[in-house]
Symmetry: C2
Subunit: 339 residues, 2 copies
């Protein structure tokens, strides 16, 4: 049962169950504070494949297959997969789908893709259009670096606000409603917000305004206050973007989320020792953090209500060369444990 | 009300109404046989913008705004836009969304994007998650050519199986169910099929196997035969891909769709005089043909049941350089007039 709350929020009354979830990551992520949560760690950045792009496909396939295994769901019984990534033409996902042979709807939400896929997936399951779905997203430091910035061999210096693209993938299996699993119960699709940031080494700043807008809209729609949540979790604002978010919400909305705000980009690495500057980024950042640590802690009952806001910077290298600013977007989902 | 039919088909019992639709195209398209159907024609390939990429955004925005106007729906009342395009990181759509300020879910289905957006949009509306939605897709010859192939200035020769990327965009407004408008009533999401074609100048051949699979699955799920439809319409197989589709369905499935099959890629240009080789292609091909001629003829009652199969080639220039074959996908929707 779906109902609308306020102007933008979609409420799924019984929630859609996250029956299984998994995350696969690379070496640097395995050296960070969340290491123990990940299902699969690849120390080789090629994951045994010939290219970085194929390595990314490998990561996403591993996350999907592991999530299916943990959900005790046969691949053949899956009605649809919703997935995306950062590579041009989303080949990280589509080549994985070729091997997995799942019905496939491709998404592009930049780094907000995991939240977007879970948002659409939950609605599709609740509507009965599909009995279950897999939602997945991935990124890879090496494939992103050479596509968006410089060849790795160039060894370019990184600016202080720059973020480190996470080598990682996450996947969830959504099916039915459930009292003994985490469920997705609220969904809010964001709109583009662009305050004119043009520095593609400062994506946190470009995405923070969109995150602020989505959080403010959601709290208004649901008559909630920040302390109603155990966590308001953004995808990959990093240290720079996170402080902008906190300030924007204070200034524009008189909302203080500082006590419950966390950001996947600052959680996945140790910012003081891992040389990642402002933190992690990429579709794989929130995908691998949500599909490991966050869902684990919700499953254990240590977290009860997490409002997860996937953040995306909808630029391309071409738009930056054409001197365009960076459109940000943020999609939110409430993940909670009802039982 | 949604129900599942067979293994893959989703049936929306009352159908979701296509309340408005529009197509905006370029000069070459205005010289083809469908010229009279288009809402807006741009003789200038820049559409008054500074770059081809911005011109593509302009086309998509025009299609969306015109569809809204024809649907008599205020932009402010739209709950969600589902859109995509072929440009890296889908900037054709995202920069349009920045101006239109609509809640936005980005999609990537290569040239199948229009069918994908209408499929997801119809389910979202029927479920009550949104009260209405806009679905849109676009492509532009000049932005695609320089991204996928060669700089225009190079003047490269084209192979006989090559297709011409359509400069065009289409958009539909979906809302409620309706007896006096075309409705979307069946949906089938496809899975990737790849028979090993590696020639990116022969995308029709790469996509035909996926189209054959989706058509065969749909006919099986719904216990239908080709003559139950006024038209089985593929997105952009072109002349080469269309003959492969007809043959594959005969050989593999003993199905003869030749009397009802049409292809947007062969309809939009005059193949004998317009020097487009195998026909049109791109997200904008099926988007502009469906959102003009096809929906016009269904509205007039000249066509009653059209099974529209959007076809996509999920390659990237990088995957081709890495000697990968081309994964094809095809999503189908039944568009009909119930009243």
């Amino acid at each position: 049962m779906i109902e609308r709350k306020g102007k933008n929020t979609i409420r799924i009354k019984n929630g859609v169950a996250i029956k299984g979830y998994a995350a696969a990551v690379g070496k640097k992520e395995s050296e960070g504070p969340l290491a123990a949560y990940f299902d699969k760690i690849y120390l080789d950045e090629f994951c045994g494949e010939e290219t970085f792009e194929k390595a990314e496909t490998h990561l996403q396939k591993t996350a999907i297959q592991t999530a299916l295994k943990k959900a005790k769901t046969a691949k053949e019984s899956i009605d649809l997969c919703l997935a995306g990534d950062l590579l041009n033409q989303c080949i990280g996902s589509s080549f994985g789908m070729r091997d997995l042979k799942l019905n496939f709807a491709g998404l592009y939400g930049a780094c907000s893709t995991m939240a977007l896929s879970m948002a659409l997936g939950a609605i599709l399951v609740d509507s009965g259009a599909v009995s279950n779905t897999i939602c997945a997203a991935s990124s890879h430091f090496c494939s992103a670096e050479r596509q968006y910035r410089f060849p790795l061999e160039y060894g370019g210096q990184r600016s202080p606000a720059a973020q480190w693209t996470v080598t990682g993938a996450g996947a969830v299996v959504l099916e039915g409603s459930g009292s003994d699993t985490p469920v997705i119960s609220d969904i809010i699709f964001g709109s583009v917000r662009d305050l004119g940031i043009k520095d593609s080494n400062n994506m946190g700043a470009a995405m923070a305004p969109a995150a602020a807008q989505t959080i403010a809209n959601y709290l208004k729609d649901t008559h909630s206050i920040p302390s109603d949540f155990d966590m308001i979790l953004t995808g990959d604002l990093g240290k720079t973007g996170s402080s902008i978010l906190i300030e924007l919400l204070k200034d524009e909305q008189n909302l203080d989320i500082s006590s419950v705000h966390r950001d996947c980009g600052t959680m996945i690495y140790d910012l003081s020792t891992q040389d990642v500057h402002s933190g992690g980024s990429g579709c794989g950042c929130s995908a691998s953090v949500v599909c490991s640590c966050i869902l684990d802690e919700i499953s254990k009952g240590n977290l009860k209500k997490v409002f997860f806001v996937g953040t995306g910077a909808l630029l391309s290298p071409t738009s930056s060369l054409q001197k365009e600013s960076i459109p940000g977007i943020a999609h939110g989902i409430l993940i909670e444990r009802k039982g």
